[in-house]
């Protein structure tokens, strides 16, 4: 019996790393999150926003919690689009886009917040499999990429550019425990945040092992005039174009009346 028990335990021990990245069914821990709003509206003076996400861990192991073995990662993922990275090279003295690579469905924005640097939370392989973190978001090229020797170069350029423009950000320390099992995470939405459905994803790690996740949608919408204009431009472009011209005609005509001197 004891031997059997030992084998069972050993089995669990070895199975754990394998099970880590599959659906975490065998863990008692549960993660719950809530956001103050499910909609962010972009008004004419929008300059970015901070979003606070509250969460709680349930079914935790009190000892491990006291030792700080639980880590939380919260990511705000923007809508996904196929994205092309282009590279300029000097041709006959001028700089021209020569090479390009398109990645399949990558988030337009990505804001990450965690209890500590995510590379110290779990091994990089795991983060890669789950696509957590700016350096681990899957970047799958589509189309012809030759021998793939420049894949790394384009991936690095993509990540660097997205981080320098502020649409991808990370805040190791943005998640704080406010009581033993309650936490608060803040993520930043940049001023040029893309419109559409964003997803707030929270991940719970216990001692480097992924144990639970939770996701909530967050809509980012243009409001009022901005929204009406964008909709008109895309849904009735002919009418929109004619309106733009009429606006110019009226402005020019009024100016010629107001400032008429002859």
């Amino acid at each position: 019996m004891r031997i059997l028990g030992l084998i069972f335990l050993l089995g669990l021990f070895f199975a754990a790393p394998l099970a880590t990245y599959a659906e975490p069914m065998d863990f008692t821990e549960k993660l719950d999150i809530g956001i103050s709003t499910d909609e962010i509206s972009i008004t004419s003076d929008f300059r970015g926003a901070d979003l606070t996400i509250f969460g709680a861990i349930d079914g935790f192991n009190a000892d491990l919690l006291a030792q700080g073995k639980y880590n939380i990662v919260v990511a705000l993922e923007g809508p996904k689009e196929n994205t092309t990275v282009r590279k300029k090279q000097r041709v006959f003295g001028i700089w021209i886009n020569t090479n390009s690579m398109t990645f399949e469905l990558v988030p337009e924005s990505y804001s990450l917040s965690s209890t500590r640097d995510i590379d110290t939370i779990a091994p990089p392989g795991g983060m890669n499999n789950m696509g957590i973190g700016v350096n681990h978001i899957p970047l799958t090229p589509i189309g012809y990429i030759g021998d793939g020797s420049n894949l790394t170069e384009f991936r690095d350029a993509f990540r660097r550019l997205r981080e320098t423009t502020g649409v991808y950000q990370r805040d190791p320390g943005g998640v704080q425990f406010i009581s033993s099992s309650l936490f608060k995470a803040s993520v930043r939405l940049p001023a040029d945040v893309p419109n559409g459905v964003h997803i707030v994803r929270a991940y719970l790690f216990r001692d480097g092992v992924f144990v639970a996740a939770k996701a909530l949608p967050l809509r980012v919408v243009k409001t009022g005039l901005e929204q009406a204009i964008t909709r008109a431009a895309h849904e009735s472009p002919l009418f929109y174009g004619i309106t733009a011209v009429l606006l110019a005609v009226v402005t020019g005509w009024l100016a010629s009346i107001v400032f008429r001197r002859d």
């Binding site: 196929n82 300029k88 431009a233 733009a244």
Partner: protein, 308 residues
């Protein structure tokens, strides 16, 4: 004070946009040009995506050309028939231009072509104008009588078939060069967001030998329609006309133009042309520098959702 541009999808300082519009309006009033060739590069310098800058620039050109055209219409200095022939070529050119625009955008060379076209065009026109105006200034200082080139000689253009009589301009001219000129300007309007007056006016005077008094009015007449058409086609094909940006530019532009006209009246023609030439060259050189110096960032990102 920021304002969010719904089509460009970014927040800009409204005072800077107003200032740009007013400055370009002032210059366009002073020199009697539409100002599209200044507003589009300025918007690009201010990080407005070139695709939006071009389409929106064309919209601003409509507003600034209307007031000028109304004045010329009252004075009766528009040759509608000639303008219509130019316009037919212009509409065909603009259609081809928008198609080219979409194609270049797809293959990722649009920004380059826009910059290159500006450098070549502004460089050439600026140099020619500067040369001409310096000579005029020199002659004026020597108290020589300033003589325009006598439009007596006929060039090969006047030997072309399909001739038509333009009563208002008092000329008998083939429609081929007129429509071709309109066609070329139409392409420029839709690819570069310029009205093209600064090329069309000299071409009409020196190449087609059209009397100077109807040239400006007639070119404005054609510019209004070609730019308006370009705006509508850009709006339907590329969704890149930012009405908020265009409106702010227009308002500032028409007001700036009024003050520009007053200052312009105090300066002599050659002086004005020399100043305009320097301005045109300066914008061209600024764009040229950007093409040849190693860029700070050799990579760029384009996503399907945003398009630019």
């Amino acid at each position: 004070m920021t304002v969010y541009l719904p089509i460009a999808e970014l927040s800009v300082n409204i005072l800077i946009i107003l200032g740009m519009g007013a400055a370009v309006g002032f210059l366009s009033g002073m020199f009697g040009v539409g100002g599209g060739f200044l507003i589009t590069p300025l918007l690009i310098f201010y990080n407005i995506p070139p695709v939006v800058a071009v389409a929106t620039g064309a919209n601003q050109v409509v507003a600034s050309s209307i007031s000028g055209a109304i004045t010329h219409f009252r004075r009766g200095t528009i040759d509608i028939k000639l303008g219509t022939v130019l316009l037919c070529g212009g509409l065909a050119g603009a259609t081809l231009g928008v198609w080219l625009f979409s194609l270049l955008r797809r293959i990722g060379q649009l920004d380059l072509v826009i910059s290159l076209a500006y450098v070549i065009l502004l460089g050439t026109v600026g140099t020619l104008m500067l040369w001409e105006s310096i000579n005029a200034l020199r002659r004026a200082s020597k108290n020589e009588t300033v003589t325009l080139r006598k439009p007596g000689q006929h060039n090969w253009i006047h030997g072309l078939p399909l001739k038509m009589r333009f009563k208002k301009s008092k000329i008998y001219l083939s429609v081929i060069p007129v429509a071709t000129l309109g066609f070329c300007i139409g392409i420029l309007t839709s690819v570069m967001g310029v009205g093209g007056g600064f090329i069309m006016v000299p071409a009409m005077i020196y190449l087609l030998r059209i009397p100077t008094n109807v040239v400006v009015g007639t070119s404005l007449f054609q510019i209004i329609f070609v730019s308006a058409y370009t705006v509508i086609v850009q709006a339907t094909a590329n969704y890149t006309v930012d009405i908020v940006l265009a409106f702010v530019l227009m308002i500032a532009g028409v007001i700036g133009a009024q003050y520009g006209v007053r200052v312009g009246q105090k300066l002599r023609g050659e002086q004005l042309r020399a100043l305009l030439a320097l301005l045109v060259l300066a914008v061209g050189i600024r764009l040229a520098i950007e093409l040849v110096i190693p860029p700070k960032e050799i990579y760029s990102i384009v996503s399907a959702g945003r398009g630019f």
